[in-house]
Symmetry: C2
Subunit: 123 residues, 2 copies
DNA sequence: ATATGTGCAAACTCTTTGCATGGAG
DNA sequence: CTCCATGCAAAGAGTTTGCACATAT
């Protein structure tokens, strides 16, 4: 299970340490190439998956496209998705007793709350 | 803007009238072919989009794959997604004041609450 | 020295589109 | 009889995988 510390992997980790919101693979590639220009999309996909398996990143499945990733270390929170620029932002509040909404017979493991609208930059 | 009442379109509408949860295009195809065996995937995609544009279906963007569709006439509700069978179910309760969770500067238009876990059939 | 990681390109999956044929009006 | 709708197959977008080369250890 030897993990090598390549420039590419460093760059990708650096990208996530610099932002406070979930990123799409595209966003990771663009920001990563600012650090390692030769960085390829396949490497991004392989590494975010790897870092997620290791528990360093968390997968965030927001509607409207594919998976996004963010630092796993962040405390419980939810997301706001801007319908204009498609960026996702963190929301640090959580409605109480959400998980009690499930009907009897359903076993709840987790929950997600997503707000849609326009972010300050797009209003 | 003449809409023709084809067997295929009837079949697709019939499929949605028979279920009380959001369906993926795949699920629509499978159930639709029980009514019109020759039904093709392209027709499913074209018609759910059409019915959604007309306001008869609502698009439901749940994580884990593409768009799902359900009858637009249903009252406000949220969803439970089973991690085992990937089916989505309706939940007819909604936490209060969800939309007030957004930080200042964010303009909320809409919200979605998703519970993850195992449905009764998969527990 | 060795085997993991990278980059490219091909393969895949899901969705959309072009085109000839079919069928509703 | 007209067009809109369908079915097929090809084209796109996003993601994954195979393979030869590069490089961290």
């Amino acid at each position: 299970m030897g993990r090598r510390d390549t420039r590419q992997r460093q760059a990708i980790r650096g990208v996530f340490l610099d932002v406070d919101r979930p990123l799409t693979p595209d966003e990771v590639l663009e920001r990563g190439q600012a650090r390692v220009p030769s960085l390829g999309m396949a490497t991004v996909y392989r590494n975010v998956k790897l870092l997620a398996d290791e528990g360093w990143l968390a997968e965030v499945e927001l509607p409207g496209g594919g998976m996004r990733y963010e630092l796993a270390a962040r405390p419980h929170h939810h997301h706001f998705v801007c319908r204009s620029c498609d960026q996702a932002f963190d929301i640090h509040r959580c409605p109480e007793s959400v998980e009690e909404m499930a009907p009897a017979g359903f076993e709840v493991e987790d929950h997600e709350v997503i707000l849609y609208g326009r972010c300050p930059a797009c209003v």
